[in-house]
Amino acid sequence: MTNNLTLGIETSCDETAAAVVADDNTVLSSVVSSQVDLHARYGGVVPEVASRAHVTLVAPVVAQALVEAGVEPKDIDLVAATRGPGLVGSLLVGVSAAKALSLVWDKPFKGVNHLEAHLYSCFLEEPELELPLVVLLVSGGHTILVSMEEHLQYLILGETLDDAVGEAYDKVARYLGLGYPGGPAIDQLAVHGQNSIKFPRPMINEGYDFSFSGLKTSVINYVRQHPEARTEDIAASFQEAAVEVLATKTKRAAIQINAKGVCIGGGVAANSRLREAIFDICLEEDLHPFVPSRAYCTDNAAMVAAIGWRRFRQDGPDPLDLGADPNLRLPCLSLMP
């Protein structure tokens, strides 16, 4: 049997996930039970509904991850779980489950930072990625541009000042009556539309911070004033504006830090137009692009197990009195001057 097997558990939002990973990148199994259908009718994730579902799903999902990996509890060397950031009630289920398994199997436990797990998801498929890297982390809760000069050491170059980009997608989609989740709905519709409406590109030439609230508002105002406009064109034009801001800043950051490559992570990294744009900027600047497969962009436990093992190797195990931290920040050096 392979050495260094980590069981990872992820319950920070609305996916109950478990995975078995060997060392820090060989995925033996990755099981994700999505609750998206449970939340769709409410137009967003309902924390109490999510927490209740995690309680009943966590053990079956772990069981399936072990079976699919073909391993037994005695083969596991580390149990890791996301401890933040996320919904506190949801996080507590995964952390409690992982600590219980760590206790009864007599294996070390490691609490994982969900953002750091996303940052490292690109290494699951491309372990030999060279540093320094610029990583753009985009999801419903986060929009962060990170410089990774050495392993496990980051500089946050910029963050959103208001809405996360995924949140802007969801709000625009809701306004357009496209339902929840909004990202995939807009992405699919945009394919059939024209980028014919000139929406603003907030802060595109200023620093590395982002602001998507103004873009969302101007889309909504435009729809009010132009009820005849085709939804496909609105979706395409909104998506174009959002992606241009993300790609432009990512490119500028890569040039500034002399990056070898550019990676994306988080749920919005599954967006097809953003993936194209990342390839485009890398081609222009002769950078190595890496976009994870869609399954590793959205929440999964393989990334949790992988970073859990890396962190365990560097920092050792966590004590069993570790709790969840819904506001956990990315561990980083200092801000850029």
Partner: protein, 233 residues
Amino acid sequence: MIILGIESATSQVGCAIGGHEGVLASVHSSRGRRHAENLAPQIDFVRKQARINLDEISVVAVDVGPGLYTGLRVGVATAISVAFGLGVPMIGVSSLDLLAYPVRHCTKLIVAAIDARRGEIFHANYRQVPGGVQRVSNPSVGNPEDVAAELLAHGHEALMVGDGAIRFADIFANLRGVEAAEPSMAYPSAASLVQLAHAKALREDFVKPSDLKPVYLRKPDAVEMDQQNRKHV
């Protein structure tokens, strides 16, 4: 037979280990709502005090609520994972049963009441039977005023037990024949859980970890609102 009992449905969190010989060790803490931080170390402590290896545990018992959601879920998620991790069956026991059991020698009506927040209590009624208590009403959630009115209407003599009885003591204080159990009885005990689970285990009254469900008694707010809206449309 070795039973691990986990109890975390109120502001208290604790666990106990026992079996045919009775309760071998137990621990509780109630300061600062640290259920998730305290529970796993407590299990480790209790099994060491009881001088039991975790793989000797043959049943995991858990308080399934009703109670405070977040704490309750920490206990249930932990208990399910321990049982799954060891490959042993589970026994779920109501938090209200756990409150009534230690006052089983009282011949009056026993009203178990847990503070449910928002001015409400989770409650159920019990009567003494040989060797224990029997629940005579369904666990429900409601206003303490309604529970008090019910007691008054039936002229019941009653013993109120639980943190809900303490929280709303002034509502029950003026009822004739109604008294409150002492504050040391106000929380479900993990030791009682092990004792009640032992009796159930002898009857092989087990559930699989995948079938164990917490008892919330309330729908999530968003679900409640959604259903109301659909009714009105």
